[in-house]
């Protein structure tokens, strides 16, 4: 009797202590002094709700029954944590960017904010978690019974104890789990309390373990010796179960609602994951380190028929270590309560957001959003949900009466919630996953699980008759629940995992392949799968009929007046509007929806805004508007860049044109002055001599001489004007070419003759063989060029024995005709300008040219498709005429 009183007192003191911790944690968080609350250590410890009373008590029982197999339950989560970079990091990032409140919310949000999907996940979670809560209640009751012997039964019976326990847990959860509405504001008090409980259970188990090894076993060596002599001395684990259980526990750590709550929803900083990735496996390792020694020594020391599930408690008790036993009880109590509290919070959020609120909203009609105090309703519905969840757990425990081995309920529960795994992983890694696929997969998997595992687990004659179990429905053998398709695996759990998970995955995959996602699904899919690339926000509302005032009224009901007003005011300010009513831009609506999603879930928030906007779904145009936003900005910036480049180009062109115009103006002036000068010289002599003739008194000879001079000057004038005319025609491109066939040699002969070589001292050297080419071009014009070049040599070659060599060369693409004399050549400085109009080397005008010859040559050759240039370094003046090979029709020579 005494020990029970002490136990009750200690338990109550412990509970009071937890209340105090939670209260102060909440208060300091509210005051913003919660830095230490948000450390990675607290985060890691809060994950320890994975280790429930099932772990604390049940693992030893499990080990006593099946040996090392129990380790799979810890190895699976360890692998997931070690692989945080793959999955958890992404989940946490999505959870934070989408303001996810639960696993149901995440899946619903990913698949187009579908509430039906959220309902399915919620149902799976409730069905899967209720037995688990019952299990916790049962374990605490069992522990209490073991402690107090029969005393507990006399003071109201185990059932009453369980009821009190459930009520107490409900009270604690309501008090600290529903203090604030926004799930993303986190439950600092609760998290702190479960972190403390995590320490208590670890310390308790380690203490019992140390006592068992050193107090009873006699040290590590002897204990290992005892293990080798025990019933579980041999490694005897079936491969299927080893793998199956590892898979199951790995998926449980992702899909269990309570694990999702602490991993994703309560996560404060992504970097905490980095610490938890090794610290949580270390915690799990410590928790399981002493399980086998405790089991082995318990089997050895405890009487036949003692419940191995309670060895952690009964072993110290039987050794008279009451304090240690008390600590052990508190450890188990902590395990059970922390799990129940978090599970109740997680489940109540889901039930409230996805079942109660939608029903309430539709019952109220669309006016309700503006009229009712939604905040209050949400809180109330959550509180009721918590009580409902715990009531369900209690009822489950009461109906089944406990009695089953703890671990098997736990594994059945794991297998149930694991049915959300394909939708969850598919949703975050595969863009092609659709709502229909997720729905099919989860429903099929859940049904398969219920049929092959859950219902048979109650034993024959509860849900399924013995006949049904043995021979299948209506005697159809291949539908037997524990041997689907005639494949009897032997182990019903592995059988169920294989079938439910593969059918689930298959249905999910096929369903996704054949269905077509809505625009919102596709947008959300892209944002989930590429969460590390996208920083854009989810959602999408086009500027609609929404009145900012209506929205404010609604937001006040959900977020609370001050939060809603400050949100609206800051938005208005960012839009440059004073007051509380911003423009209802799509960005603002997205932001508002996100804020509200933190309170009531994504699907409900979307639906509520949809009601005010007058429609609950998005159009493709909306989506495109949102999705293309970035693309548009980029395109705009590209356009700007292109325009700027174009402007630079234009400016450059204008500058060049301006320069050219200036040059041309200078050239024109120079040209005019040159031409006046050139015209003036012959005019002057014509005038002078015609005056002499007019005055008379001249003899015949003088008369003839002066008339001859006038005639010569007039000819020179005419030639100058002819040249000018010719040049102008050529420069304007108005010249029409008279193309015909002819031999190059003939053209050169003709040019030589026209230039008057025969009567001069100039000796022309030619290679007749090389000139034997047939050309198709304007031969007269070509001859004009040749005449010019030959006359130049004639006029300017200052050698004593002038000599001109005309050489024809085949340069591949071009035909080169070189005119090289043996004179002094042209000074380097002048070589650039000799082809310009009126340019003459030196100052002598003796040759009588106006300096237009080479300019004309250049124009002509240009028209013929070639070039004429000065060839330096040939020992005299050298000009090269290049003609394209295309003018050569036939190569008779060489």
């Amino acid at each position: 009797m005494g020990i029970l009183n002490v136990l009750v007192t200690v338990s109550l003191a412990y509970v009071l202590f937890l209340f105090t911790v939670a209260f102060f944690a909440d208060r300091s968080a509210a005051r913003g002094r919660a830095k230490w609350l948000q450390s990675p250590l607290i985060y890691t410890l809060s994950l320890s709700i994975y280790c429930t009373a099932w772990t604390f008590y049940g693992a030893v029982g499990y080990a006593a029954r099946s040996g090392v197999e129990f380790l799979t339950i810890y190895l699976g989560p360890s692998i997931v944590m070690i692989g945080w970079w793959w999955t958890l990091r992404k989940l946490v990032r999505i959870g934070r960017s989408q303001r996810v409140t639960s696993i149901a919310d995440l899946i619903s949000s990913r698949f187009g904010k579908s509430n039906s999907l959220a309902v399915v996940v919620t149902v799976i979670a409730v069905v899967g978690t209720t037995p688990y809560i019952a299990l916790q209640l049962q374990s605490v009751t069992l522990a209490l019974e073991a402690f107090a012997g029969d005393v507990a039964k006399t003071s109201g019976g185990p059932s009453a104890t369980t009821l009190w326990l459930a009520a107490g847990l409900a009270l604690f959860t309501v008090l600290f789990g529903t203090r604030n509405l926004d799930a993303n504001e986190r439950h600092d008090g609760v998290v702190m309390a479960i972190a403390v409980e995590a320490v208590v259970k670890l310390v308790a188990l380690v203490a019992v373990g140390l006592f068992v090894i050193w107090g009873i076993g006699g040290g590590v060596g002897p204990t290992l010796e005892r293990i080798s002599q025990s019933d579980i001395a041999r490694w005897d684990v079936s491969g299927g179960r080893w793998m199956g259980l590892m898979f199951l526990s790995a998926s449980a750590v992702l899909t269990l609602p309570r694990m999702f709550q602490v991993l994703v929803v309560e996560n404060e900083d992504e970097r905490h994951l980095a610490t938890a990735s090794w610290a949580f496996p270390a915690y799990l390792m410590l928790m399981s380190l002493f399980v086998v020694p405790i089991a082995v020594i318990g089997l050895e020391h405890m009487p036949e028929g003692a419940n191995p599930d309670l060895f952690v408690l009964t072993l110290p008790l039987s050794e008279g270590q009451n304090t240690l036993a008390m600590l052990s009880f508190l450890g188990g109590f902590s395990s059970a309560t922390s799990m129940v509290i978090v599970a109740a919070i997680a489940l109540s959020t889901m039930v409230s957001n996805h079942i109660v609120m939608p029903i309430w909203l539709s019952a109220q009609g669309s006016t309700a959003i503006v009229a009712g105090d939604v905040r209050h309703v949400v809180l109330l519905s959550r509180r009721l949900s918590i009580m409902g969840v715990l009531t369900l757990g209690y009822l489950y425990h009461h109906t089944t009466g406990g009695g089953e081995a703890l671990a098997s309920i736990g594994l059945i529960s794991f297998a149930g919630v694991a049915q959300t795994l394909p939708a969850l992983l598919g949703g975050i890694f595969w863009r092609g996953a659709t709502r229909i696929g997720a729905l099919c997969g989860m429903v099929v998997g859940f049904v398969a699980w219920a049929y092959t595992l859950f219902m048979p687990s109650f034993g024959p004659e509860v849900f399924l008759s013995d006949e049904f179990l043995r021979n299948g429905p209506m005697g159809i053998g291949w539908l037997r629940p524990q041997a689907l398709f005639g494949i009897s695996q032997g182990d019903p759990l592995v059988h169920s995992i294989i079938w439910s998970m593969s059918l689930n995955a298959l249905a999910f995959f096929v369903g996704s392949l054949v269905s077509f996602p809505t625009p919102l699904e596709r947008l959300q899919g892209a944002q989930f799968v590429n969460v590390f690339d996208h920083s854009t926000r989810p959602g999408s509302w086009s500027r609609g009929m929404a009145e900012a005032e209506d929205l404010l009224v609604m937001a006040q009901r959900i977020l609370g007046p001050s939060e809603a007003q400050s949100l609206f005011r800051s938005e208005a300010a960012s839009q440059g509007i004073t007051g509380y009513l911003p423009e209802t831009t799509p960005e603002f609506l997205q932001r508002l929806e996100r804020e509200m999603a933190g309170s009531v879930g994504a699907a409900t928030a979307h639906a509520m805004i949809g009601q005010i906007l007058g429609r609950a779904s998005v159009t493709v145009e909306d989506l495109m508007a949102v999705a293309d936003e970035t693309a548009q900005i980029m395109e705009y910036s590209n356009q700007l860049e292109a325009k700027s480049a174009e402007l630079t180009r234009t400016a450059r062109q204008l500058r060049a044109a301006n320069e050219k115009l200036t040059q041309m103006s200078v050239q024109k002036d120079a040209f005019l002055s040159q031409i006046s000068h050139e015209l003036r010289t012959p005019m002057t002599s014509i005038r002078a001599f015609s005056e002499i003739l007019r005055d008379g008194g001249l003899d015949e000879a003088a008369l003839a001489k002066y008339a001859g001079i006038i005639h010569d000057e007039a000819i020179r004038l005419t030639r100058l004007l002819d040249d000018l005319l010719d040049l102008s025609v050529l420069e304007n491109g108005q010249v029409s070419l008279n193309e015909r066939i002819g031999r190059l040699g003939d053209v050169l002969d003709q040019a030589e003759a026209a230039a008057g070589i025969e009567n001069s001292r100039l000796r022309v050297v030619r290679s007749r063989v090389r000139e034997d080419l047939v050309l198709y071009t304007d031969l007269d014009r070509l001859a004009q060029v040749f005449i010019n070049l030959i006359s130049n040599a004639l006029k300017y070659c200052d050698a004593k024995r002038p000599r001109l060599e005309i050489a024809v060369r085949d340069l591949g693409d071009n035909l080169a005709i070189d005119f090289v004399d043996n004179g002094g050549g042209i000074p380097t400085a002048s070589q650039d300008v000799i082809f310009e109009k009126f340019s003459r080397v030196g100052s002598d005008q003796a040759a009588g040219g106006a300096g237009l010859g080479l300019a004309i040559c250049r124009e002509i050759v240009h028209r013929l498709g070639g070039t004429v240039s000065y060839l330096p370094g040939q020992g005299g003046a050298a000009f090269r005429v290049l003609l394209p090979m295309t003018v050569v029709r036939q190569n008779r020579g060489s």
């Binding site: 997931v80 070690i82 080798s228 491969g239 080893w242 496996p281 390792m285 590209n638």
Partner: protein, 87 residues
């Protein structure tokens, strides 16, 4: 034009190291799964004492924890924005 490509071909040494550490973090769970599945090979015929099995599993576990702690420590020091970089 003028924009930095998202996944440049060549990285400076430090960023290159960082990415290899990310690769290692991705590989760690594969290694863990492999180590924890080795007991499957102890199957029939071979009598493995539970004590040895425990020593192996806990040894492997502790080793993996140490490796993960090392990698996480490196990754933690990196600015969070870099976490999104592709390999």
């Amino acid at each position: 034009m003028g924009r930095k490509p998202e996944n440049p071909l060549f990285l400076e040494r430090q960023r290159y190291r960082m990415r290899r550490i990310m690769d290692a973090a991705r590989f760690a769970p594969v290694l863990a799964a492999f180590l924890f599945l080795i007991p499957l090979m102890w199957g029939a015929g071979q009598e493995v004492p539970t004590a040895s099995a425990l020593i192996y599993i806990f040894g492997a576990w502790a080793g993996l924890i140490a490796v993960t702690a090392f990698l996480s420590h490196k990754l933690r020091k990196m600015p969070r924005d870099n976490w999104q970089e592709r390999p």
